[in-house]
């Protein structure tokens, strides 16, 4: 039987091999996190698509959501699956990589190469696990600025993202009022609601209830909390869909059977679908990362950062905003998106807003929703045109 130390070495090698070909920037400056800890020499993994133009005016920073990563489009080299926003990003797509230079960074706390619980703590030479510091949306955003500096981009054409990606958009726009021409927060909220926190807690408790989780030290064993993480994903997945969408897609249809089986197997197609979503997720996501990232979302309260007055968050902004929500999204409903619009109007910021009709729930922003993709594309087009005319004068 191999010693624990030997096993750890094996795991470490396996992981390093897996993430070897990922683009990484090692940030050698120090960053003070919201929790008070100071980190330095930390990696941020990223990917880019398209080409940066001469005057560097076509860069779009995309922020990923809870379960996303830097591989926005094309085939993800690690999972071998299509990128999470392939519907929106790519040649000829709404975010056209023939025209724009798209950047995406794996968030702090993530598990695709950036500084997270799956990385090695240089002080102990062990994986961080739950000794990793609790991070916030603000920390995630501040870490990404180093990459923009490294790429030599002073001002982005746009920042965009849905869900937690949208929260990063808001935080970025607030922290850096003059670093982007436009900002497109999609299906998000300026502060996580009690319902959002409750649902995230459900996921975390599912992971922690799995004995394999082992207080976050599962990397020291051969077991991992796959069941817990799968249940967390299943619960979350329900919140990404709408009742109507589920009913239309699955209804009470049975899985590979003519009649009920009178058992607890997956009788219904919806059960089988959810189980599949859970299992698929476990292959590509780290349970501890799931804890850290959901925590960051829960801690997000831009209103509180400005003493209860959200409009102060955008007081100095020079960016043009386009807030987009979806009619059937009950996780980040239109009303919460509208609060952002109201705050922007209250401080005289430049903002447009539309609620897209879709029965696909919160997931609408990831899916093929033509009206959404069209308006996203048109907004970027007109912004790009405006900026490049401006520069010609």
């Amino acid at each position: 039987m191999p010693s624990l130390a030997g096993l750890f070495f094996c795991l470490k090698q396996k992981m390093n091999k897996k993430t070897k070909n990922i683009k990484k920037l090692i940030v050698n400056q120090s960053l003070e996190l919201d929790c008070g800890k100071i980190i330095k020499n930390f990696p941020i993994a990223y990917e880019t698509y398209g080409t940066l133009n001469k005057n560097k005016s076509n860069a779009i920073l995309v922020f990923h959501a809870l379960s996303g990563d830097q591989f926005v489009t094309n085939i993800n080299p690690i999972t071998k699956k299509e990128g999470w926003w392939a519907n929106a990003v790519g040649p000829g797509k709404a975010i056209d990589t023939d025209k724009y230079f798209v950047i995406c960074v794996n968030v702090l706390g993530g598990c695709m190469g950036s500084f997270g619980p799956k990385e090695i703590n240089p002080d102990t030479n062990e994986l961080f696990g739950t000794t990793f510091p609790v991070i916030t949306i603000r920390d995630m955003v501040r870490a990404q600025i180093y990459l923009l500096e490294y790429l030599g981009i002073d001002k982005l054409l746009a920042i965009t993202g849905g869900s937690m990606g949208g929260m990063q958009v808001l935080q970025f726009a607030s922290l850096y009022p003059n670093k982007t021409y436009s900002a497109i927060p999609i299906a998000c909220s300026a502060s996580h609601s009690a319902q959002n926190i409750a649902l995230n807690e459900l996921g975390r408790q599912a992971i922690m209830a799995d004995p394999n989780w082992n207080n976050g030290n599962y990397f020291k064993t051969t077991l991992s909390p796959d069941k817990g993480l799968a249940v967390a994903r299943m619960a979350a997945h329900i919140t990404y869909l709408s009742k109507q969408g589920l009913q239309e897609k699955f209804g009470r249809k049975l899985q590979d059977a003519e009649s009920l089986k009178f058992s607890f197997d997956a009788n219904f197609q919806i059960e089988s679908y959810l189980r599949h979503q859970g299992t698929k997720f476990v292959d590509r996501f780290d349970a501890n990362s799931y804890l850290y990232i959901t925590r960051a979302m829960d801690y997000f309260d831009l209103e509180k950062q400005f003493n209860g007055n959200l409009s102060l968050a955008f007081k100095n902004t020079k960016s043009k905003f386009y807030v987009i929500s979806f009619s059937s999204d009950w996780l980040y409903p239109t009303i919460e998106n509208k609060e952002i619009v109201m705050a922007l109007n209250a401080c005289g910021a430049n903002v447009g807003f539309v609620e897209i009709d879709s029965d696909k729930g919160h997931d609408s922003f990831l899916l093929e929703v033509p009206e959404f993709l069209k308006t996203l594309s048109e907004f970027l087009n007109s912004t790009y045109k405006e900026i490049n005319n401006e520069k010609r004068i």
């Binding site: 386009y322 619009v341 209250a346 005289g348 903002v351 447009g352 609620e355 308006t375 045109k385 405006e386």
Partner: protein, 197 residues
């Protein structure tokens, strides 16, 4: 661009902050922004029209003026513009109050129900008037509170709204409304345009 918008653009001139309520497909906003360098925002209840505006580079919010105007701070715009929409609100008086609060000045245009063709239609046909400006039947018209130029002037007097300018439009011809010609203009104008505060 229609004559009404030309008149409104002339009143507004350059480099002002303007809120266009019920901006439609953004024709007026586009002119104000790109030809007169105004800082323009719009509010429009129809999604497809909002998206048309966005595609033109205009910042428009999807929403209903009766509910959404409260979010704009006092005097946050040089001009609040309401073109031929006042009659379509459930509570026009409340909307008007909001406009006067938000805009340092407000431009309101109304289709004139006192226009002679409208009067004759009702008088001789005995049915609700249909004209070029009022093309819908009574059962599908969005117009809930039609008024005449005289009604609007009376309303402003009663509620202490100051009318800085009043113009009227007949067959693309523009003229000023004065105390002396009000009775006459109320019969022969299709549209009234008022600059109020």
């Amino acid at each position: 661009m229609k004559k009404e918008f030309e008149i409104i653009s002339q009143i507004i001139q350059n480099n002002k902050r303007v809120l266009d309520i019920g901006c439609g497909d953004g024709t007026l906003m586009e002119y104000l922004k790109f030809n007169q360098q105004n800082d323009v925002r719009g509010l429009e209840p129809q999604k497809d029209l909002v998206q048309k505006c966005i595609a033109k580079g205009l910042s428009v919010i999807e929403g209903d003026a009766e509910k959404e105007l409260i979010q704009f701070p006092d005097k946050s715009f040089d001009y609040a513009v309401l073109s031929q929409t006042l009659q379509a609100f459930l509570f026009p008086e409340k909307v008007l109050k909001q406009l006067l609060r938000i805009g340092k000045q407000t431009i309101v245009s109304i289709p004139n129900f006192g226009y002679w063709k409208v009067r004759l239609h009702l008088l001789f046909k005995g049915t609700m008037p249909l004209t070029k400006n009022l093309p819908n039947e009574w059962y599908n018209t969005p117009n809930l509170h039609m008024c005449t130029i005289q009604d609007f002037v009376n309303f402003c007097k009663e509620t202490n709204i100051k009318i800085d300018r009043s113009l009227c439009l007949t067959n693309e011809k523009i003229s000023e409304i004065t105390n002396g010609n009000l009775l006459y203009k109320n019969i022969f104008s299709q549209l009234g345009i008022f600059l109020i505060k």
